[in-house]
């Protein structure tokens, strides 16, 4: 009898869910604003707005049910530690606080795609404005706000685009675990994202913010109340990176199935592991910097105010100490996807698996020692420049390892050119341009002229959109049958790929040239001699946006309108996540599997199957 107690969770009788969450968020917002305006030290409203956002987020999370477990524990109730009682079916679970990593993966996927739409609309507004060399369509002040909203929204998205949907859904399946280490932290990492996006969007009510995603002081100190959205929204994303990092790393370290040695870990999981290390350690630095900015704007401290004992360089250093690892947070899981898919579609063992792992770790380590390459022209001591130039250029070595592994795997193989594989090849092409242009920016003499130009803007779009988003698309086409049991339409997929690939390059390659012709970023007016180039780019950008609409249409069409049930293992891949039934059972594996071989042993004469799904007799590890 008493044993059964373990799985019967007592609950508070308050109804939880999105309606309660929204209600408490609104209440919290007004309570925070009232409190801030009543007791705030100065009458610029920032205290009230910051407190309002914080209370609104807390209210939302409480309404979703995040307080039930800690409160129940405080009251001494016997609780169900893993939320086993919460395993439920039906559409409703996607709209509730779910502790099932598969539900959270889908929640992330849909949220990321929705946010991507808004970020993309922002890009279209920017490009439309640039049809004319003088700001006729979007006024100059609003232009900067749109740039800020587009950039920060995209940063929020790309921080979680791969780890969120695919890390959460797939890591337990790939490591043979029946659970995540910290399902509540995992759920929290997801439910922090929608409030962050809404709070960011709320900046429009205050006229946006003028700083772009870098939030440089002293502009951030002087900016209007829209800046408060940047602060709170970004802190929430930082918390999401930390909670997700703790959960992912603990899961990969402690819950691998018996037999899954480090040398057998799928390379995608290595990518998730490295990106989680970066997120776990970089986001706290951002959080500290944002707390300082919030204090400066509300309590009138002077962290970034040089006239009163502070320094704007303090922000720039803390921000980029986070900011540079952040860009590898974007790209490392993408590296993982491209290496993973190369092996599966070339049907041969991953060439230089260990080299690939070393490459991922090399990037992870070096990314802590390069941040001042963003400050070459900011007035830092010139003596610092050579070190940061060399450390940055050194990163091209482990990045080269990744290319070596992928190209070595594809070399002289008969590649199965599926839609996901096409996106991987597109990744290689785009990221090569992104990487090579990055070398010029890391080089002090060239950076002095290229800094702040469209060259740098086109460079990071080549790495983030041409890199991470192409890998993101590859992952959707590849794992969609795993996650939904439906095949995405492959013909539409091929059209999508070529459309997106051509439109992407037609958009961003000319922008490299615009940068070399001295067109500055973040400015709504430009040299009229560059109008043709800009109109070309704008029309290409419209095509790029429409390719994403086609992508969305394919997803909706193949998921809901004309679903084609996927066969069990449509790519006939060896890896563990494809060896279990569709839909994936509630606890993934009936028993913890016994791993017998690595995931890439294609074509080896005496290769064993990847796992014995009957498990070790008597084994409970990883349960």
């Amino acid at each position: 009898m008493a044993v059964a107690d373990l799985t019967t969770e007592r609950r508070l009788s308050i109804p939880t869910g999105i309606p309660t969450g929204v209600l408490l968020a609104i209440t919290g917002y007004f309570a925070g604003v009232w409190l801030g305006n009543e007791f705030g030290l100065f009458d610029d409203q920032n205290t009230g707005i910051i407190l309002g956002y914080v209370f609104a987020t807390a209210g939302f999370l409480i309404g979703m049910g995040f307080l039930n477990h800690p409160l129940g524990r405080l009251l001494g109730w016997r609780l169900d530690p893993l939320g086993e009682a919460d395993i439920e079916v039906g559409l409703g679970r996607y709209f509730r606080l779910s502790l099932d990593h598969k539900v959270i993966g889908i929640q992330y996927l849909v949220t990321i795609l929705t946010m991507l739409f808004f970020g993309g609309v922002g890009a279209m507004v920017i490009r439309t404005s640039l049809l004319s060399p003088t700001p006729t369509i979007v006024p100059a002040g609003n232009y900067l706000s749109v740039v800020g909203l587009h950039s920060v929204m995209m940063i929020f998205i790309t921080s979680a685009a791969i780890v969120g949907p695919f890390g959460n859904y797939l890591v337990p399946l790939m490591i043979g675990s029946r659970r995540m280490a910290f399902p509540r932290l995992e759920a929290l990492s997801f439910w922090l994202v929608p409030p962050a996006a809404v709070i960011l969007g709320a900046a429009t009510f205050w006229g946006g913010f003028p700083t772009g995603w870098t939030g440089y002081a002293p502009l951030s100190e002087q900016a209007g109340q829209g800046m408060d959205s940047y602060i709170v929204g970004f802190i929430l994303i930082g918390l999401a990176l930390i909670t997700s990092g703790v959960n992912m790393l603990a899961t990969i370290i402690a819950l691998r199935a018996p037999g899954l040695t480090w040398a057998r870990l799928p390379i995608f999981v290595w990518g998730i592991l490295c990106t989680s290390i970066l997120g776990l350690l970089a986001a706290p630095v951002l959080a500290a910097a944002l707390v300082m900015l919030a204090l400066d704007r509300s309590a009138q401290t002077s962290f970034f105010l040089a006239s009163n004992g502070g320094s704007n360089y303090l922000w720039e250093n803390l921000f980029w100490f986070f900011g540079h690892p952040e860009v590898y947070i974007f790209i490392l899981p993408a590296f993982g996807i491209v290496m993973e898919l190369a092996a599966h579609f070339a049907r041969r063992p991953l060439f230089g698996y260990r080299v690939g792992v070393v490459g991922l770790f090399g990037v992870t380590l070096l990314s802590w020692f390069v941040w001042q390459h963003h400050l070459f022209v900011s007035g830092i001591a010139p003596v610092l420049r050579p070190f940061y130039m060399l450390s940055t250029e050194l990163i091209s070595v482990p990045t080269g390892f990744i290319f070596l592994v992928v190209l070595g795997t594809l070399w002289r193989s008969r590649v199965w050119l599926t839609v996901p594989m096409l996106f991987c090849l597109g990744f290689l092409f785009n990221f090569l341009i992104g990487g090579i242009t990055g070398v010029y920016l890391s080089d002090v003499p060239t950076d002095v002229t290229l800094h702040g130009s469209y060259f740098s803007m086109a460079h990071f779009h080549y790495t983030i959109m041409g890199g991470e988003i192409f890998a993101f698309a590859a992952a959707i086409y590849y794992w969609f049958p795993r996650m939904t049991g439906k095949m995405l339409n492959q013909t539409l997929g091929r059209i999508h790929f070529w459309w997106m690939f051509i439109a992407f390059n037609s958009t961003f390659f000319p922008l490299l040239i615009a940068g070399l012709l001295d067109m500055p970023r973040r400015v709504s007016a430009y040299n009229p001699g560059l109008q043709f180039l800009n109109q070309w780019v704008t029309f290409s950008a419209y095509l790029l946006f429409s390719s994403m609409i086609l992508f969305a249409a394919n997803i909706i069409y193949s998921w809901f309108i004309q679903p084609v049930p996927a066969v069990a293992n449509p790519w006939r891949a060896r890896s563990l996540e494809w060896q279990i039934p569709t839909p994936v059972p509630a606890r993934n594996f009936e028993r913890v599997p016994l791993i017998l071989a690595g995931p890439y042993d294609y074509g080896l004469p005496n290769a064993k199957p990847v796992a014995d799904l009957r498990g070790l007799v008597g084994a409970t590890g990883g349960s």
Binding site: D5, L6, N308
Partner: protein, 197 residues
């Protein structure tokens, strides 16, 4: 508080696994935490070294009271020490319960005294670099300490007959590392904020 609870072998294995997960998770969280405080220490030394406009520590600034700072630190050390002592005894014994409850009570004292000190600083937040760092660093630390105190209360509450802490010893052991970590940060803050400027 019904009869003795029996646990199946599977649950015992689950509990053993939980100990490892909680321990790994806590070390990861503390690593993140270390980077958070490192950012604050960087701010401390950076602003102190730059001393922009001579406003790191303006002349005539009332220093924070060493007496208050020392009281808060001592309370934090007693709390963390008492909890460390508790973890040496099995949960549910008097030797666990007494020091754990003491850690909770003293831990609450840390929050109250620190809040009292923040209310009676003797300097204004607008008075330059040092007051900024003092408030941010001390504020971050006490907020985290308060959250840890809440957590400690849940652990004590669960350490009754039939509570899940008896079986799942994980949070009990891992939590000691959190209090220990916060105590170390408290010592560093005490040296920097009360003796170094």
């Amino acid at each position: 508080m019904a009869a003795e609870t029996r646990y199946s072998a599977a649950e015992a294995a689950l509990a053993a696994l939980d100990v490892r997960i909680a321990s790994v998770g806590m070390w990861l969280f503390l690593a993140a935490n270390a980077f958070y405080y490192a950012a604050w220490y960087f701010a401390f030394f950076y602003l102190k070294a730059l001393n922009n406009n001579g406003a790191w520590m303006i002349s005539g600034l009332t220093r924070p009271s060493r007496a208050y700072g020392t009281i808060v630190l001592l309370l934090a050390l007693v709390s963390a020490g008492a909890y460390a002592l508790a973890t040496r005894a099995p949960v549910r014994t008097l030797l666990w319960r007494l020091p754990a409850v003491a850690a909770l009570v003293v831990g609450l004292g840390v929050v109250l005294f620190q809040a009292y000190e923040m209310w009676h600083l003797g300097f204004g937040l607008t008075q330059g670099g040092f007051p900024s760092v003092f408030v941010g660093l001390t504020g971050s630390w006490v907020v985290e300490w308060a959250a840890a105190t809440f957590w400690l209360a849940t652990i004590i509450s669960q350490a009754r007959v039939g509570g899940d802490t008896i079986l799942r010893a994980a949070p009990v052991a891992a939590f000691a590392n959190l209090l220990g970590f916060l105590a170390v940060v408290g010592i560093l803050n005490w040296i920097l904020l009360y003796f170094l400027p």
